[in-house]
């Protein structure tokens, strides 16, 4: 091995050592941010982060020893840290003065945006989230009525130990109700870049829940404990729930939908996976419920002699799963009547959402996009005043419902006649 070769070899080895692992961060030196809230107060941006206390997570060494008795109230094992600044990123960096670890946002599950911020415009939030290399586009985004930090700070954990995980879980399972969905940043960017440039973000609200009292021994301080044997008073715990949604035109909040209207929108936009319709039984005022299992929503726009007409076509399939009355639904006629009723019900929901959207001027149904795809030239003419056009757009809603099954039984169970 020549002198030169040897030198090159040694140098190459030394360069490897000289790197000094500059990007190295041990996993326990990170502060995992589970969820964040962005608020606007005057001109100040307020960033609130919910940081998982990994030491408190199960498996993190039972250093406490005797402290194994779980508290009655679900607690989040998190630390909330809030900071303000002129920009979001600036506010984020101020967090560093408070945290002994590096705030790490790649595992952020959800982002909450306060009402103020939403009214001012989502652009800066989206820019921040999209530009930063650690954020994921799959992060959920939600809206709050009032400051988002309130929810982040005051929510008391439900099943999960952090609000971020709570929301991630909601995002996965809320679809079975049909009442909502949780978009992620990617969906949002896509919606806002489309023809209608409108979107809808669900609202996260407190839902006060009575915490079931713990029977028997009450785990609390020896002095404060009530006489043994008496159940403690149930207390109210603030968990979170999805409740309605905010309508956005471009990136600004322009109106609200309630839960029913969210579902009305979801029918049309094909966002319903499962839903339950509570319909009236024929005859008496008792109810029955129909579970919708298949939904196919379609939005079209037709231009006839420069007159635009929107069409919302929804095809659903469902099963009759519950009935309070004793009506016999095994006949084709009865089923047909039921199908009609379901269709009317759904159409009403859709219309209600549509009216609200037209009032607010937010084309969340995507008629703009449909027009752009069908008549690009017309769209070019109209797109500058599309908001006005949409507000006056006549829309026909066609719903077709099919009942497939009636569950495991065909007729309702009745006590034997005496």
């Amino acid at each position: 091995m020549g002198q030169g070769t040897r030198l090159v070899f040694v140098m190459a080895l030394l360069t490897l050592l000289a790197t000094g692992c500059w990007d190295r961060r041990e996993i326990n030196e990170l502060a995992f941010v589970s969820s964040m809230a962005f608020d606007l107060e005057g001109e100040k941006r307020i960033l609130t982060a919910e940081i998982i206390r990994s030491a408190a997570v199960a498996g993190g060494g039972d250093a406490g020893g005797g402290g194994a008795t779980s508290p009655a109230r679900p607690q989040r094992s998190v630390v909330i840290s809030s900071e303000e600044g002129d920009t979001l990123f600036g506010a984020g960096r101020w967090l560093a003065t408070k945290l002994p670890r590096r705030a790490y946002v790649a595992h952020t599950a959800a982002v909450l945006v306060g009402e103020e911020m939403a009214r001012r415009g989502l652009a800066e939030v989206l820019d921040f989230l999209d530009r930063h290399q650690e954020f994921r586009r799959s992060t959920c985004i939600l809206l709050t009525r009032g400051p988002a930090a309130n929810i982040l700070v005051e929510a008391q954990g439900g099943l999960e130990d952090s609000l971020g995980r709570e929301i991630a879980g909601l995002a996965k399972w809320v679809r079975v109700s049909g009442y909502g969905f949780i978009p992620n940043i990617h969906d949002l960017l896509q919606d806002l870049s489309g023809g209608g440039a409108s979107t809808l973000i669900p609202v996260l609200e407190f839902s006060p829940q009575p915490q079931p009292p713990v029977s028997g021994r009450v785990p609390s301080g020896p002095g404060a404990s009530p006489p043994t044997g008496l159940p403690a008073e149930p207390e109210i715990v603030r968990t979170v729930a999805l409740d309605g949604a905010g309508l956005f035109h471009h990136d600004r909040l322009v109106g609200w939908l309630d839960r029913r209207q969210v579902r009305g929108w979801a029918w049309a936009r094909n966002r319903v996976v499962r839903a339950v319709l509570e319909l009236e039984c024929p005859g008496d005022g008792s109810k029955l419920s129909v579970e919708i299992t298949e939904v196919e929503g379609d939005i079209k726009i037709e231009a006839k002699n420069s007159l635009l007409e929107g069409v919302i076509k929804v095809k659903v399939e469902g099963n009759l799963l519950e009935q309070q009355c004793t009506h016999d639904f095994t006949t084709p006629e009865a089923l047909q009547a039921l199908e009609d009723r379901a269709a009317t019900f759904i159409a009403a929901e859709i219309r209600s959402a549509l009216e609200q959207a037209q009032e607010a001027g937010a084309d969340v149904f995507g008629f703009g996009g449909a027009l752009y795809r069908k008549e690009p030239r017309l769209w070019k003419e109209l797109h500058n005043r599309w908001r006005e056009e949409f507000s006056e757009l006549p829309v026909t809603v066609q719903v077709e419902a099919k009942m497939r099954r009636t569950g495991l039984t065909s007729r309702p169970w009745q006590p034997p006649a005496r």
Binding site: C21, R24, E26, I27, S54, A55, A63, H107, R165
Partner: protein, 561 residues
Amino acid sequence: MFRFLRCFRNLTHLRRQDDRTRARKAEKYERPLSGNLQVDLGYLRDVLGNSEDLVIRRLEVGGHRVAVVYLETMVDRPTVQRDILPSLRQLDRRVKGCTRPGELLESVKRDLAVGNLREEFLWSGLLYGLLDGRVALLLEGCNCALLVEADEWEKRAVMEPEIETVIRGPREGFTEDLPTNMSLIRRRLRSPKLRFETFYVGRVTHTRVVMAYLEGLALETVLEELRRRLGCIDIDGVLESGYIEELIEDFPLSPFPQVGRTERPDKVVADILEGRVAILTDGSPFVLTLPINLFSQIHAPDDVYERWVISHGIRLFRFLGLIISLLLPSLYVAITTFHHEMIPTTLAVALAAQRERVPYPAFVESLIMQVIFEILVEAGLRLPRPIGQAVTVVGALVIGEAAVRANLASAAMVIVISLTAIASFTNPTFGLGTVLRMLRLPMIFLAASLGLFGIFTGVLLLLIHLASLRSFGLPYLAPVSPFLWEDQKDVIFRAPWWAMYTRPKLEGGLRNFFRVKPGINKAVPGRVKEPEEELETLTGRDRGRPKKASRSRGPSGRSGG
């Protein structure tokens, strides 16, 4: 300091020594026997230093003085006493009148009741014959010695190999005795084309080394090169086949074994059948096979003994095990120190929680555990078996429970290291597994300094190295890296026997005999015939009916060159 590198780079140990040293070495004993019994025996005593086990029995046969010489440690004494001496005595009566020593020699050669008889005229032949355990007959007036085979020494019985165990397959393993080993091969390969070629290697130990191959199947170039390399070995002693392996390798600096080793005769025979050459070394139960490639080392004998569908899966798991054993700790280190976003959130938090009280970075943590584990493995190997078990138990406790309790390591790291440890022993040949075990440390180092980028750099370097390796001229990544479609049937997958039409292309040369007759699967009785037809055959009815045309057809696919 780097001189030995230069030596290896030029492979000077495989260059033929200049002939003078060779001649000097040889000429010492390359002298004819004198024919004078007194002088020859004196010289013999001189050369062997009047060793304790040297027996010289003087007799008289037909009026001529005869000496029976042997080393009593090497021969079967009953053979000498029951066969050789009595038949000489008989001869003595028969050839009473014989006068000339030449005549006596002839009659001894004719009448001695032994199997293997050889004439030697040179001292070297006589000496090494004696040292091989032969009995020498020296006749007064004859300048030659008769060597009679009577070797017998203590040897281990043929036992089950301890390292290469199989679930299904023969349980015999090679022993330290060369003739036994040769017979184990010959018994499995009763072909007139099986050749054994003997070499003596080692200036002092004079160890017998035997090449075994199938004439006409093994590559002539490989054979030629192997003969040359074996001839070039100039070493004082060969105690294990490892000496030879190291001395004939193409790339002495590579950590990867370029010569296969096995204790299993069935494996050796399988290799010979594929056109490889086996090298048996006296005194070692490990037989070398060459040329090999990387993949043949990952194959276990069970793969071809067990049903092929199952073998597919098992082989895949074994490949996975190898990859795990090389990469898992480094992947863990890289991901937990650089790429936290790659782990699911829950796991990330759990890992962080586990590492909460561990004072060292993941890199140091993994080094500690790795070192502890390697020490345990080594201790387990070296300790006497009863104590070895105790060490394993203590080791499991130390590694598993106590290290975590003492916050020296996180539980996840223990899992990673133990999984790696187990995975590294899935390798059937042990040699490759050890290599990967050693390569793991540099990999962890690369991962700790450069993250996943470092790991991929390491893997790339490794692949470059592997791709440039040769085993006796054949590429090390053979059926994959020069991609040979026909040979894919027994690399990562294992084709059923009835579809293994040809032998491996490179080892078997281009003389690619059909290994399995194409279409043999269709020739299974009952497959050829329609079911009802078979029933008729069985019941003996309708014998006169013309048979339907057989459905069996040869395979339409590629059956190899």
